[in-house]
């Protein structure tokens, strides 16, 4: 078997050690493939690359130990932030207004507060 690092240094860093170039079937785990034409090769290389990325992430997540706890923390936190806080407690104050309505609203607020200050003090 080739040395993993040496082979990867020659090709793309995410490329694995045992799958010959231009072999989509191999990349998908269906055995060794045939030799392809130039166009087929390019297409299969792209697909092959995406498969390798997919496997990279899949294997990484599967091999996680303490990382799984952290992902639970992250997902719970994101759920609380976006599904609860953002929806129920932090709606966009100017939401539902068109751009013109927003500039009218803020303009009226800024002028009004300034003139109030002028007349009454703040």
């Amino acid at each position: 078997m080739m040395d993993v690092n040496r082979q990867e240094e020659r090709g793309h860093p995410l490329a694995g050690p045992e799958v010959p170039v231009c072999s989509l079937e191999s990349a998908l785990g269906q055995g060794m493939g045939r030799a392809g034409t130039g166009t087929e090769c390019r297409a299969s290389r792209r697909t092959f690359f995406l498969v390798r990325i997919w496997r990279f992430y899949r294997d990484g997540f599967q091999a996680m130990t303490w990382g799984k706890t952290l992902w639970v923390v992250i997902l719970v936190k994101l759920f609380i932030m976006f599904a609860i806080l953002k929806v129920f407690f932090f709606p966009d104050f100017l939401k539902g207004k068109t751009e013109t309505e927003k500039q009218d609203y803020v303009g009226t607020e800024l002028v009004g507060r300034g003139l109030d200050n002028l007349e009454n003090g703040f």
């Binding site: 995410l14 990279f56 997540f61 100017l94």
Partner: protein
């Protein structure tokens, strides 16, 4: 009808924002600091091939990962608050604030998110060099992310590179490079990011000292301390240098902040810097603010009364005069909107000219009385001294920790006091960072955007009770997150880096 804005609403909204930012700043600087230290350790591994350094880097990466996971996205809550609590501000700043944040989100965050996966999943799957590059790019991504956030923050302290459009009531960016690279932004970036490096270094030294105290992982601990001490010392010295630059920038653009943090009621030439009440370094404040020993530094009363000669030779306006001009600017905006509504282009043009004339004082139109322009001097005075005091402490601390690791003396039990001090120093670095933000943010009150928009104009017309409720929700949420972080981190630290000594007699078996 414009609703009256209560001071309670402003105070709770400010408290909520401050609390969120302060919690966020517990996680971020540690991420920035640890990213660099683990990058250095992995670089040593790649250069020497010594697997000890790989294991050492992996342990600190694990701690980095825990901190990153708990801290990630806490900053988004600040953006929620912009939209809800500070809607006038959000609209008024226009694309000036949005552009850096968008760049931060698209470029830096995705860069960070991509390479962090390679960093954690890529051991033995990608080449050593590609892995090393990914580790560095993760840290660089986090650092670039911080750059854009700090650019946005600096713009609020010193708004430049924009033009106010009264038709849209928004500021429009006219010079991106001025916004992104104004000297104040560059200084703030290095000062803030490197203070994170100091925390990262203090953390590594502190945790390593804990191992020494427990007689565990001796080689790992001493090697980590050696790297972190040199790194931390370099970072602290640069923080001190940029702190001096920052003081000069503040003196030029936010003189009230400088006067308040020094508690300087009445200014003058040849001003000394007060260390604590009654103890002064002669001429130091003048040097800090003007780069000359006899430079004039205005005090709070001078800034309110005006009349002194400014560095450019002009005479300073009093607060009352600025407020008058601010009110004229607000009136001109009102006239412009009315004229535009009526289709009177001549009147609109005249109003626009009047607005442009007084626009730099626009925010003063919302100030009720001159005293409102003075930030909380007591809080600022002590926050400044905590920040600078711990900064000086860390120079001595890192020199000492580095010196004692040269012949491995730090592992001796007679230095147990230093092990305890090193653990406490993690919190000192956090205090210093928090104090720095208090100086920066409390110091610019009452302004949301310096001279252009005070907080009483920036805030949304909300019910104060709803802000109070969300304040406590955040307090609970962030406290739970902090407890989770500390719990997971303590567990990981107790477990230790594994058998990374790799030399006989030097590694104590791990306790269960």
């Amino acid at each position: 009808m414009i609703e009256q804005i209560s001071t309670g609403l402003i105070d709770w909204s400010r408290a909520q924002f401050a609390m969120t930012a302060m919690y966020h700043w517990l996680f971020v600087p540690l991420t920035l600091g640890l990213a660099m230290i683990m990058g250095i350790m992995e670089t040593i591994y790649v250069r020497t091939g010594d697997v000890f350094w790989k294991q050492t880097a992996k342990f600190w990466m694990k701690i980095f990962g825990i901190n990153f996971a708990i801290g990630v996205a806490t900053g988004l809550i600040l953006e929620f608050q912009f939209g809800t609590n500070w809607s006038n501000y959000s609209w008024f700043v226009g694309d000036i604030f949005g552009a850096p944040l968008a760049i931060e989100g698209i470029l830096a965050f995705f860069m960070e998110a991509t390479f962090i996966a390679v960093m954690f999943f890529g051991w033995n799957k990608v080449s050593k060099r590609f892995h090393l590059a990914s580790t560095w790019l993760t840290g660089i991504g986090a650092t670039i992310s911080a750059w854009w956030i700090l650019v946005a923050n600096t713009w609020m302290q010193h708004p430049v590179g924009m033009e106010f459009n009264p038709a849209t009531v928004r500021n429009e960016m006219v010079d991106f490079w001025t916004v992104a690279f104004q000297p104040m932004a560059v200084t703030k970036f290095f000062h803030s990011v490197l203070s994170g490096w100091v925390l990262g270094a203090a953390f590594v030294v502190g945790i390593s000292c804990w191992y020494l105290m427990r007689k565990r992982h001796r080689r790992f601990a001493l090697s980590s301390i050696r790297i972190a001490s040199v790194f931390g010392l370099a970072a602290t010295l640069i923080v001190a240098f940029t702190g001096d630059r920052s003081g000069y920038e503040v003196a030029r653009h936010q003189p009230m902040k400088l006067a308040a943090l020094e508690g300087l009621e009445d200014g003058g030439t040849e001003q000394g810097l007060e260390i604590v009440a009654g103890v002064k370094i002669p001429y130091m404040l003048s040097v800090l603010a003007t780069r000359t020993t006899d430079g004039y530094v205005p005090g709070i009363n001078d800034l309110l009364e005006g009349g002194y000669t400014m560095p450019d030779g002009s005479t300073a306006l009093s607060a009352e005069e600025k407020m008058q001009r601010g009110r004229r600017a607000v009136q001109a905006l009102s006239d412009f909107r009315q004229a535009t509504k009526n289709g009177d282009s001549v009147a609109a043009g005249e109003a626009r000219a009047a607005l442009d004339k007084d626009m730099e004082y626009f925010g003063y139109g919302y100030i009720g009385k001159p005293e409102d322009l003075v930030p909380h001097t007591g809080l600022l005075f002590w926050a400044f001294r905590v920040m600078v005091g711990f900064g000086l402490y860390f120079i001595a601390f890192f020199v000492l920790s580095w010196f004692l690791t040269r012949k491995e003396r730090l592992a001796e039990q007679k230095f147990k006091w230093l092990h305890v001090l090193a653990l406490a120093s993690i919190f000192f670095a956090m205090f210093a960072g928090q104090a720095g933000w208090i100086v920066a943010e409390v110091g610019r009150q009452p302004w949301a955007i310096q001279d252009l928009l005070p907080v009483n104009a920036a805030i949304s017309a909300l019910d104060p009770a709803s802000v109070k409720t969300t304040f406590f929700i955040f307090l609970a949420l962030f406290t739970i997150l902090l407890i989770a972080e500390i719990g997971i981190m303590v567990k990981a630290i107790k477990k230790g880096p594994g058998n990374v000594g790799l030399e006989p007699g030097n590694e104590v078996p791990q306790t269960k």
